[in-house]
């Protein structure tokens, strides 16, 4: 019997069990941001929408509109405001309607 066969048996299965079980490598994927509404001011929301290179963030009044479809998970908003923005950890983002990807994040409400 070839050695690679015995080695494969000893090491176990290499293929992911993904749909049935979570894949361990998913934790290392770059993921879109998650926002802390209690830390988001209007001024900060404007700064984040300027920092975003892919037009995923815009401010409309007291709401930050986040288009998860447009987000490239580059992490620039996280770098700009580490206290208010973290990685969401969500990678299962497929949508049957693009409107489901547009999220309205409420702001703190206080002006600059």
């Amino acid at each position: 019997m070839p050695l690679w066969f015995a080695r494969g048996l000893r090491r176990g299965v290499v293929t992911t069990r993904y749909p049935a079980r979570p894949d361990p490598s998913a934790a290392e994927l770059p993921t879109p941001p998650a926002f802390r509404p209690d830390a988001l001011t209007r001024e900060l929301a404007d700064r984040l929408s300027l920092v975003c290179p892919s037009w995923a963030l815009t401010r409309n009044g007291d709401v930050l509109i986040f288009d998860a479809g447009a987000c490239t998970a580059c992490g620039r908003c996280r770098e700009a405001a580490p206290g208010a923005v973290t990685a969401s950890g969500e990678f299962e983002l497929a949508a049957t309607d693009p409107a489901h990807l547009v999220k309205r994040i409420p702001l703190l409400g206080e002006g600059p």
Partner: protein, 184 residues
């Protein structure tokens, strides 16, 4: 499905109820969509279409056939011809020069057919609409499933494909992308 195989699968849940049993056209359309998805859930052939992407999406799509993800275990296969394809996987911002080719590819596919827009470009993220690009695939083709990501990881692509055939639910609708101060 041929009559012979339909007879063999008597009581097949994939077959829709008779039109008289369904209340409205919308209900009938939904039942038909679900029955198509169940058929595709067993075996689905994918044709990829690059409409001006940077090839990062293609690289991730290529990884789906690697041993770690092993797309074939789920009944998905890639085909080089749109005439053999059930699902069109479109990457890139849909450059205007590609309109005719994209339409011809879509029309060459036998029905029923699905279109999956793949990556942030295809979803309107990276390129704004201008003289050269539509900025989103939805302008040219009827998209069924949208997969975000730049590029979407093979796991995200797998999830999107399984959503397209109704084997997994799309859960992004319920995500808020907010986190209260207590978390983390």
């Amino acid at each position: 499905m041929s009559p012979a195989s339909a007879a063999g699968d008597s009581g097949n849940p994939a077959l829709p109820a008779s039109p008289a049993a369904l209340a409205s056209p919308a209900e009938a359309a939904d039942a038909l969509r679900r029955s198509v998805a169940r058929q595709f859930g067993r075996s689905l052939h994918i044709r990829t279409l690059d409409t001006g992407s940077c090839a990062a999406c293609e690289q991730e799509i290529r990884l789906l056939t690697a041993p770690h993800y092993d797309l074939h275990r789920l009944g998905f296969f890639f085909t080089p011809a749109p005439r053999h394809a059930d699902l069109l996987m479109v990457t890139g911002p849909m450059i205007r020069a590609f309109d005719i080719a994209a339409r011809k590819t879509y029309e060459a596919m036998p029905g029923p057919k699905l279109v999956v827009a793949t990556g942030a470009c295809a979803l309107g993220g990276v390129y704004q609409p201008d003289a050269f690009t539509h900025g989103t695939v939805g302008e040219t083709l009827p998209v069924d499933v949208w997969i975000p990501g730049c590029p979407p990881s093979p796991l995200a692509l797998l999830h999107g494909l399984l959503v397209a055939v109704d084997r997994l639910a799309a859960k992004v609708r319920d995500l808020t992308f907010t986190r209260s101060g207590g978390d983390r």
